[in-house]
Symmetry: C2
Subunit: 396 residues, 2 copies
């Protein structure tokens, strides 16, 4: 497979290879300006939809070419005044991260592996021609923000405070060039339990080969805003077919890549008769290097109970395995939903007149790989399970 | 070639096929709020760089799901208050257009084919899951804005007032979904003569196969902001090699597509010994349907002096033709620069160790196809040449 993608564009990037950045903003410079009017909090977070309510404060730090980073500031949550020609509004110079803070059974607040988010953010920033920063300093600032709005971390089981670090190009010029002014900000949003309204019955995916999310030589492996705009229209087509999400296939081979907001895993009996947990590899540059994805792979390898593979697999592999009853579980992973069982794939290939509904036995699986992953990861997130370095406590 | 791209995603879209939209904003509802403090104008527009100065007013019209379009308003140029979770800042729900107003030799102000911009904008809006509007009403509003700021249309030869209609998703929610709030705005920027600082000597392009702009099943044929963010980093690599722009190749075949801000034309003697003006076709969905591109094709077909082709051609075709001295002119087309002669292509294919500088005789061509195109199109734009429907006069 790999020879089809000889140019993994990641090899041109250097950030994340080195761990420090000498010209970063610094946590020690943090300015805090407390709000005077606090927003009302939702009564029952379990029912709060994803990303619609925000906490009292945000973190902001601006960068200007020649001057460097300014002082980070935690300030009342309010709108930004943006110039109508700001680059983010025209050439999509923007990137984001997604993390979560959890209220643990011991009353402590934890963020799940935030250092990985900030390292990924540096990598996205390089591809966006944005300035570098020190990931450790960014994590400290994120923790300060969560500390400031700690009463926004829902106490309700399964709920959490979603954290959205973002960078945007704010220079007010229309030419196609790098942004000489950049804003980094972080906002917090309390979220309920279910990213999808599909609890128990599983998620349905539309895999329509007419639409392609990423490609060799593109930016599919960076968390840049530009990867998402083209998916909304296709998402609407999926919704018309009563699907929750799109499953993105790539190339003539119809490689299984990811689901836009989530990575994809299959637990199956492979062609060699082995039990295997498989997910698409990162070296193609076609999919986002998810932090939940990485955590699942690390846990599965620690368990050592079955084969764990990061390698390309195709829609044909999936169809054949379903037809031969060799697929046990097919599930997604991501910060928003942790893991989500997939119950159905609507596979559409207009070039050969295929429109087929594939049913998956995920929700009834006796192997419970997905369920154990969910229990382990949420266990770490809510402090029921200890795992060194995976859950950073926010000191209050 | 075409069988490689059986799924031109344009076929799923309907806007632009029908000419009207019953739920549009209306020019008759226009509200005008004049500025009280006017900005200083540049003394000599010829030296003004692209997209850095803006006129006194902007046009704004907002849409909300369920309510529809509000009343369009021309108002003092000022920043927007945007919610930090506005969809445009996270999932790049944004698109734009580029047009120009010209001060003619007869003292009249003309906009070049604005109806085509607005039809293209409707098409981009559909792909962004944005609401539809009536292109004719949008043209009327654009003209009103130019009329309001008519003293910003530079009098200086070769200069013009660049017009930037834009749509952004403003709904303040983080979920990956369509924006239930949308802002359409138009801003104006006086611009000098030269988009590139290369007058006379020609533009140099970097064609590096490691980076790919668009792909079958993607949105390369829509003027969405998301197409541009991934190009900035590559543009910086090009600048390091003293190139002005990137020439984007696609696929294993290395199809010549476009140059990011511009379409590409080659005037050559083809393999059959015919003089031919060739440009990449639109039905692959890989390139932007430029209005200058379309105008050049229409003019060339009217002239009837040589073969005019919209068909795929490859980098190998170009290299072979250069080696056999069959390329007469290679040039770009776009609103910003009209046409721009290309003097050099730095062709890099790391997979086979190629790094070759290809020199093009464009600037010394005796055929002067590009020069005649420039003279004709700018002649129409500045009122020296009459061509029905190509230059809409702004009534003052």
């Amino acid at each position: 497979m790999l020879r089809l993608f000889p140019f993994n564009s990641t090899r041109f990037l250097s950030r994340g290879l080195k761990n420090t950045c000498s010209n970063s903003f610094q946590h020690k410079d943090l300015i805090i300006r407390k709000t005077e009017k606090r927003f009302p909090k939702p009564k029952n977070t379990a029912d709060v939809p994803f990303g619609k309510i925000y906490s009292d404060h945000l973190l902001n730090v601006d960068w200007v070419e020649g001057k460097g980073w300014g002082k980070p500031e935690i300030r009342p949550f309010e709108g930004f005044q943006l110039h109508p020609a700001a680059k983010v509004l025209h050439s999509s110079l923007e990137l984001f991260e997604g993390a979560k803070a959890y209220y643990g059974i011991d009353g402590k607040i934890r963020i799940f592996r935030p250092q990985l988010n900030m390292e990924r953010m540096r990598r996205s920033a390089e591809r966006c021609a944005f300035p570098d920063f020190d990931a450790k300093e960014a994590v400290k600032l994120l923790k300060e923000l969560v500390k400031m709005d700690s009463d926004w971390v829902p106490r309700c089981a399964g709920s959490s405070l979603y954290l959205r670090p973002t960078m945007i190009g704010t220079e007010p010029t229309l030419g196609l060039a790098e942004s000489k002014e950049v804003k980094l900000f972080m906002i917090c949003s309390p979220v309920g339990q279910n990213y999808f309204k599909s609890e128990g019955t599983g998620v349905r995916l539309l895999a329509d080969t007419s639409f392609v999310r990423s490609w060799p030589g593109g930016v599919g492996s960076y968390k840049m805003g530009c990867n998402y705009a083209p998916t909304i229209y296709v998402q609407q087509l999926a919704a018309k077919r009563d699907c929750h999400q799109v499953m993105w296939l790539q190339g003539k081979e119809q490689l299984v890549t990811e689901a836009g907001a989530m990575n994809l895993f299959m637990f199956w009996k492979n062609e060699q008769g082995e039990e295997e947990l498989i997910t698409a590899p990162l070296d193609t540059g076609l999919l986002l290097p998810g932090i939940t994805r990485r955590s699942i792979l690390e846990l599965a390898r620690e368990w050592g109970e079955f084969k764990v593979s990061e390698r390309s697999f195709t829609m044909a592999d999936v169809v054949k395995a379903i037809d031969e009853n060799r697929v046990y579980e097919f599930f997604s992973s991501g910060t928003a939903a942790v893991v989500g069982g997939i119950s159905e794939i609507q596979y559409v290939d207009r070039s050969i007149g295929v429109d087929r509904t594939l049913r998956l036995p995920t929700m009834a699986s006796k192997h419970k790989v997905m369920q154990r992953m969910y229990d382990t990861i949420t266990g770490i997130q809510y402090g029921r399970i200890q795992k060194d370095g995976w859950a950073e406590i926010v000191e209050l």
